[in-house]
């Protein structure tokens, strides 16, 4: 249990630091359409069995911290709460026959296989990013622009996600 907690804690600190120190500046450098967001991975990699309410609260806390660095109070928090709420629904929807295997499984290629992992992560990031850009515009008048930015950011974020998962081979 303590192993799981320390693993998550280190991951939180590492990815959060990378997000606000590196990816934020990188996103600003490559224009308004490509935004690199790796931090939703933290929510995705939470243990599968934790209650949704707890995931939502963690999502809110995470989002607020990110918002603190992005100077957009509530926007990232809203997106994180939304994706944290969607996560169990998503996991149930992509559940393999016979359920998830392994002790304390998390949503990683190690437990799911790359194909399933990319499917779940793709939808998860899409929901998160879409909600984020919708909250940024705060109106569906610019729906086309919101969708375009969502897809562009999804591509680059998932690319980074694959690199990360390939490098660290997260198991817990």
């Amino acid at each position: 249990m303590s192993n799981l907690l320390t693993a998550n804690l280190w991951r939180f600190l590492g990815i959060l630091a990378a997000q606000v120190l590196i990816f934020k500046q990188a996103s600003e450098a490559i224009g308004p359409y490509f935004n690199i967001f790796l931090y939703p991975l933290l929510l995705l990699l939470l243990p599968m069995v934790i209650p949704t309410a707890l995931a939502v609260l963690i999502g809110f806390a995470l989002g607020i911290v990110v918002d603190f660095f992005y100077a957009t109070p509530g926007v990232h928090a809203g997106a994180s709460v939304f994706s944290a709420f969607c996560r169990p629904l998503l996991l149930a929807a992509f559940e393999p026959k016979g359920g998830y295997s392994g002790k304390d499984p998390i949503t990683s290629p190690h437990h799911l296989g790359w194909q399933n992992f990319l499917l779940i992560a793709g939808v998860f990031f899409f929901l998160h990013l879409f909600w984020y850009f919708a909250m940024t515009e705060f109106t569906l008048v610019y729906f086309g622009s919101i969708l375009l930015r969502t897809v562009a950011s999804l591509l680059i974020s998932v690319l980074l996600l694959v690199i990360y998962m390939g490098l660290f081979r997260t198991k817990t």
Binding site: P51, T52, V56, G59, F60, G74, A77, G78, V81, F82
Partner: protein
């Protein structure tokens, strides 16, 4: 209590989601200038639309009262206007006509009261036509009062019930309206046929009426106030051997088309009648 707790635990996900998302909305709106502006604008449009719809609906349901109050106001204005026309003082010479403003200076009391009515029955195609009105004795309608509309004359009240009254339409063979054409007194009656055309008799042949001349009420009979529009000349005929024209008058108020009318009751009629009774015996 236990049930509530169980419910919370079972649906903790969705409840916490809604609560936290609401909190995020609140934070977004309060701490981001751009989103706050969008929110204010959207909320303003929504609220404005809702208020506008509500105003339209309430205005629609109040239409009958609005119509009634406008009719009452029209009646009040009309009676003031009529009284104003009555007080025309002739000084020595006809070249000097002084109009007294009866509205400001109370030289004389009102000549007529005006009662707004709705037409609830009407006909134009019979030999003798009648108009039914929705006001009666209870509202101050009396027999021999004139009925006018905003653009012309309609008839003369004949029978008065408590709540309704029947008026002879101007399209009734017995109705005679004393009318003025170019300062000459004539008698207007309906000879049947076209319900928008009446005949003006007794205009002497030494004047020359023109097509389009205006026919006004004389005010002599006290049924109609003076100088109310009746219609215009559309045909001039001088029968052979007659000293009087038979003039066709197109009514300005089409008798079939009047919906809202005013009963005009003379306040001086009784005193005039008592005077006239004296001469009828001589």
């Amino acid at each position: 209590m236990q049930g509530l707790l169980k419910l919370l635990l079972q649906n903790g996900g969705i409840i916490s989601f809604i609560l936290m998302e609401a909190l995020c909305f609140f934070i977004i709106i309060h701490f981001n200038t751009k989103q706050a502006a969008v929110w204010d604008n959207t909320f303003g449009i929504l609220a404005g639309n809702a208020l506008e719809q509500r105003r339209k609906m309430t205005r629609f349901t109040h239409l009958p009262e609005v119509v009634d109050s406008l009719m009452a106001e029209n009646a009040a204005l009309k009676s003031e206007l009529i009284s104003r026309q009555m007080v025309r003082v002739h000084l020595l010479d006809t070249a000097y006509q002084v109009r007294y403003d009866s509205v400001k200076g109370t030289i004389r009391t009102a000549q007529y009261t005006v009662i707004p009515c709705d037409v609830i029955g009407n006909s134009v195609h019979l030999e003798n036509n009648w108009v039914m009105l929705n006001k009666g004795k209870a509202d101050g309608v009396e027999p021999h009062s004139g009925v006018i509309s905003k653009s012309g004359i309609v008839g003369v009240v004949r029978h008065v019930g408590n709540d309704f009254s029947l008026a002879m339409s101007v399209l009734h063979q017995q109705v005679r309206v004393s009318a003025i054409l170019r300062g000459h007194l004539g008698s207007l009656l309906w000879t049947g046929g076209d319900p928008t055309v009446m005949q003006l008799n007794d205009i002497p042949k030494d004047i020359e009426p023109q097509l389009g001349d205006t026919i006004l009420t004389s005010g002599y009979s006290l049924m109609f106030p003076k100088n109310q529009l009746i219609g215009t000349v559309v045909g001039i005929d001088l029968p052979k051997g007659s000293n009087f024209y038979a003039i066709k008058v197109k009514l300005s108020q089409s008798p079939g088309a009047s919906d809202q009318v005013y009963v005009v009751r003379s306040l001086l009629k009784s005193s005039v009648d008592s005077l006239q009774q004296k001469i009828s015996h001589e």
